[in-house]
Symmetry: C2
Subunit: 364 residues, 2 copies
C-alpha cells in the first residue's frame, strides 16, 4: 500500500504527435491515445492507472493539445475535466509544465508534483511507485528538482543521458553533473562504459514552489508571461489568455531551459523496466516473439520462412501471410501500410515527408 | 470491320475460383470478375468486349458456377440471362462445353462456336479477332476441331503445350501431333528449342456438330448423360436435370477427354500477345514498371531502396510506404495482406491451406 497524500499531484504531458508510429499513430490520434502494446489499455490510460494508486484522481492533471482534450476526457473519465489543460500550440515541455504548475499552485501552493510523459512503458510498477513516493518525500524536504535516471543496458542513441556527480556512491539521490542530448553511437558506448551516465526518463519531481522559482530564475520571459496572465486563470478568459501566452512563448524544453542551468538538481538512479516506446523497433525489443523471432501483435499472421519481424495487422478479421521476410516492420491499418527493414526505421519521418509531397497532406 | 455472322457463337468459360490470386481473388469473387489489371474493366468484361465486335450478343454464352450467375449478369448486362448457364458443381471443361453445346444446338444446329476462358489477357486485339474470324471460317468448311497455339518466347512451366505435325511449313492450320501437360523446366526448354511446340491457349473453335460428334466418340458416358437430359433443357426442369447430369459426370478436361484422342485436330499458330494471367508474378511480367522495376497498380505507394516488386494496395485513399524490399509481391485488401518473394509464389496455395487451418475457413 502506498500513502495517498492529498498534497501529491501528477502532471501527465500528452502533447506528442507520434509520427514515428505512423501509420497507426496519426496526428488525429497520436501514440499516447493508442493501445500500441495490444494490452487493452492505451498508453495514457496505463500511465493514469499507475498514478491513481498513489495520487488522488482530483490531483491528476493532463496537458495536451486542445485538439485532443476530448480524447483525454473519453479515455480518462476519472480525471476532472478542469484538470485537462489544452495547449493551443506546441511549445515543448517548459510552457506545458509552467501552465500546469500555475494551475496547481492556485489550488494548493503546498503541492508536491510528479511530471511524467503519457506514453512510456514501465514494467516494474511496484518499484516505480516506490521510487515516486520516495522521490516525493525527498522533494518535500528540500527544494531540489529531482529526475529519475534509468541504468542503461545498451548504448542507446535514442535517449538523452544524465551524468551523475562523482563520489556519489551509496546515495539514493545524486547531484546531476550534466544533461546531454541524444548521443552518436560512439559517445553512447562511452557513456555506457563509464558507468556515470543514466538514461533521462523525462520524469521529474519537485515542489510546486521549487520549479516555479527555477523557471523564474532561468526562463524569465516565460515566467513573466504567466505572471501577467495568471489573474485570468480559472475565469472565462483563461483560454484566450493561454493562447496569448503560448503565442508569445518560445518553444523550449524543461531540460534545456531549467534543468541544465539549475544547480539544485538531483537524479535518482533506478531500473524499473523502462522504455520511451519511441519507435516500432523499440516495441519489437520489448514484445513477445515466437521461436522465429517474429512478433505478431494481433495473432493474425501466418509466417513462412520469415524471422525477426515486428508485425501489426489491424482490422476486424483481417489476416496476413508473410513469406521470405526477415527483420522487417510491417504495420497495416485501413489507411496505410508500412513495410520497412527494422534497422532503417529512423528514415520513417523522412519517408513520411516524401509521402506527403507525393500523396498530399491528407495522409498525416 | 469484322463480319457479324449470325451463325457465330461464343462460349465464355467462367467457372474458375482463382486461389492463386488470393487475397484479391477469393472464392466469393474469383479472378475473372475482378479488374485485376487496374484498367477499369474486369477480365470477363474484357473478354466480352473483344467478342462482341464479331459475334452477336445474343449468341454469346457464359458457363459459370451457379453461385456466380448473378455476378455475370451484373457485369455483362448485354448477355441474355438465358445464355448464362449455371453449373451446380465443378467438373472441368468437358461437361461445361457439352452443356453450352447442347443449348446452342437447340437454338441453331448450324452454329460455329469459339470457346474461350474468361480470364486471359490478349494484347493485340485486331490480330486476335482476325484469327478468330479465319478460324471460324476454317471450321465452317471442315469438321476440324481447331485450337489457337501461341508461339512461346520462354520455357514457361505454367502452360500446356501443343506439338505441331512436321512438314507443316507455311500452312495456316496445322495438324496437331500431341497435347502435353505443364512440363518441368528442362522439358520446357527442349520444347522451346525444338520449334515444334506452341502454348495451349485454351481457346477452341469448331462447329456445334463437330464437337458434339467428337464427345460422342470419346466421352460416351458424358454424351449419354446429356442425350438423356436434353429433353428437359429450356423447361422448368433444366436446373434439376443439370444437377443430375453433373452429379453423374466425371471431372475431365476437353483437352484430355477429346482433343488428345481425336485425329481431326488442328492448331493455328499465332502470337497476339497472350497470357493466362495465372499468378501474381504473371501480372508483374506484363505490368508497367517504374525505373526501379516496381509495379504500383494503384499508384499509391512510396518506394525507397526497393526494386522489382509487384504492389497492389487496395482501399480508398490507402497508401503504402515500402522500404528495403526487393522482388516481392505485396497485395493488400481490406480482408488480407500477402507479402511473398516473387520467386516463391507457387507456395501460395499451400500457405493458404495452412492459413485456413490456423485461422478457419472464413479466410477463403
Amino acid at each position: 500500500m502506498h500513502t495517498m497524500d492529498k498534497t501529491y499531484y501528477c502532471v501527465i504531458m500528452a502533447g506528442g504527435i507520434g509520427s514515428r508510429f505512423w501509420p497507426v499513430s496519426r496526428s488525429d490520434m497520436p501514440k499516447q491515445f493508442l493501445d500500441i502494446l495490444g494490452v487493452g489499455r492505451t498508453l495514457i490510460q496505463q500511465t493514469f492507472d499507475r498514478f491513481t494508486k498513489i495520487i488522488p484522481d482530483e490531483n491528476i492533471y493532463v496537458v495536451t493539445n486542445e485538439e485532443y482534450s476530448s480524447i483525454v476526457h473519453e479515455q480518462l473519465p476519472k480525471v476532472p475535466v478542469e484538470n485537462i489543460l489544452g495547449e493551443p500550440m506546441r511549445r515543448n515541455t517548459a510552457p506545458c509544465i509552467m501552465y500546469a504548475n500555475c494551475k496547481i499552485g492556485l489550488k494548493n501552493p503546498d503541492a508536491k508534483i510528479v511530471v511524467t510523459p503519457a506514453d512510456h512503458l514501465i514494467l516494474n510498477e511496484d518499484l516505480f511507485l516506490d521510487n515516486i513516493t520516495e522521490g516525493l518525500e525527498f522533494v518535500t524536504e528540500s527544494n531540489a528538482l529531482l529526475t529519475l535516471g534509468i541504468t542503461p543496458n545498451r548504448p542507446a542513441t535514442g535517449y538523452g543521458y544524465i551524468q551523475m556527480s562523482e563520489n556519489a556512491e551509496n546515495q539514493k539521490f545524486i547531484p546531476v553533473k550534466t544533461f546531454t542530448e541524444k548521443p552518436q553511437l560512439e559517445l553512447a558506448k562511452f557513456f555506457l562504459e563509464s558507468g556515470d551516465f543514466l538514461w533521462n526518463s523525462g520524469i521529474f519531481l519537485w515542489k510546486q514552489t521549487s520549479i516555479r522559482d527555477a523557471i523564474k530564475n532561468h526562463l524569465k520571459e516565460l515566467y513573466s508571461l504567466f505572471s501577467e496572465g495568471i489573474k485570468n486563470f480559472n475565469t472565462p478568459r483563461e483560454k484566450e489568455t493561454i493562447t496569448e501566452i503560448y503565442s508569445g512563448a518560445k518553444s523550449i524544453s524543461i531540460d534545456f531551459g531549467v534543468m541544465e542551468k539549475e544547480s539544485n538538481v538531483y537524479v535518482m538512479q533506478t531500473n524499473f523496466g523502462w522504455s520511451d516506446l519511441g519507435t516500432w523497433n523499440s516495441l519489437y525489443t520489448i514484445a513477445n516473439r515466437d521461436e522465429n523471432g517474429n512478433t505478431d501483435l494481433y495473432k493474425n499472421t501466418l509466417f513462412a520462412n520469415s524471422n525477426g519481424n515486428y508485425v501489426n495487422i489491424q482490422g476486424d478479421n483481417k489476416i496476413a501471410i508473410i513469406r521470405d521476410l526477415d527483420d522487417f516492420i510491417v504495420v497495416d491499418t485501413d489507411k496505410a501500410l508500412l513495410i520497412c527493414k527494422r534497422e532503417n526505421e529512423q528514415t520513417l519521418t523522412e519517408m513520411l515527408n516524401d509521402a506527403k509531397v507525393k500523396f498530399g497532406e491528407g495522409i498525416k
